[in-house]
Symmetry: C3
Subunit: 153 residues, 3 copies
């Protein structure tokens, strides 16, 4: 199974890699580890999915934002390595949901990204440990931000 | 000193390992590292301690919720390995407190978990680096969520 | 280039290492890794920069708080090792901004720390992956909290 072949089979078109939004590296390699900075739901036209869960977006819309965030992460990884097949497995994911204080469905929202990674890297290698939690505010009022740690070949 | 013996001496009864709440692994082993997903204050009867610090719960109640979260983490680790003695030491802990904007006692709350880990694994090996901070919302309105990174034998 | 020499050239005076605020280690070494606990904007006189971004502090004031937090981290590292030259590079930084729900400039704020680390360790080694996000509350109402992972010699 190849992540690149899976992308083709799933007819997934990746957005461009998001532009830098501050002083950081989008990806950093340390031996067999790939650290990826917090990404937002960057879309193919260069816009971001914005708004707070529980006010501006419902859980289904948030889940799509999390999937889009996952696509942006894939794009940054592919830009860095040239191929998603360089990734062996997901180790850890932090799912940050921009939400009102009453929101409770963060895991459902972040599943939008986790399901994508399971499709791309498989149900075992594409699934790692995770926290999916609610932030009071996110940069540019994006709906979701996600950072990951991966193992690479 | 054995973590398993410490549990017995402290007369600690672990709750069941919490059920999966999304697409993730509760525990993931990478060489000498054990990553543990964000856990909530899962109780022996299968219910969760809910509510926001500074509104629904006071700091003492939050500290008990953090201790219960620690017990749930211990249960997941024991379920994964069969024994807590597989753990060499705590490296890192992220303590996430569900709190109103005015709440200021996050370290006091998360000490409920940190004191437990120090009792189980010792005052050196059971204590790692930590951030204890306030989240605007958490899944199912749980009072506390904690994720950890440990070194294993 | 030496981080210690850079401190002298930049005429930077580090604050004292912050006192412990709970049950954790300020720094933990694991092989070639240095984990640093969440630090606040601890100042030379022992006080903390407090307040919420978007209400009590504006983005420029928050950026100064992030820089001060970076100085506190440098002080803890220097206290631990005796020298900042023990650090090879920054791997990862989590920038936690105490903000009102409408705040959107977290990356600008956390750049205050990232610019400092780039000055001290260089534009490549001093820059790692990063998330800069908004928390509903932080301990003692500090304006910023930052935790880092570094590679050491």
């Amino acid at each position: 199974m190849s992540a690149e072949q899976n992308l083709i089979d799933l007819e997934i078109i990746l957005p461009p890699a998001p532009p830098l939004g501050g002083i950081y590296k989008p990806c950093l390699v340390d031996g067999k580890y790939l650290y990826v900075s917090g990404h937002g739901p960057y879309q193919n036209d260069g816009t971001l999915i914005k708004g707070k869960l529980g006010k501006d977006l419902d859980a289904e819309e948030g889940k799509l934002a999390a999937r889009q965030t996952g696509l942006a992460i894939l794009s940054s990884i592919k830009t860095h390595f040239g191929s998603l097949d360089k990734v062996k497995r997901l180790i850890k994911l932090l799912g940050m949901v921009n939400a009102v204080p009453e929101f409770e469905k963060h895991p459902f929202v972040i599943n939008g990204c986790s399901e994508l990674f399971a499709q791309v890297w498989g149900n075992d290698d594409g699934v790692g440990v995770r926290s999916a939690v609610g932030f009071g505010s996110l940069p540019n009022n994006i709906a979701v931000e996600i950072e990951v740690l991966l193992e690479i070949y």
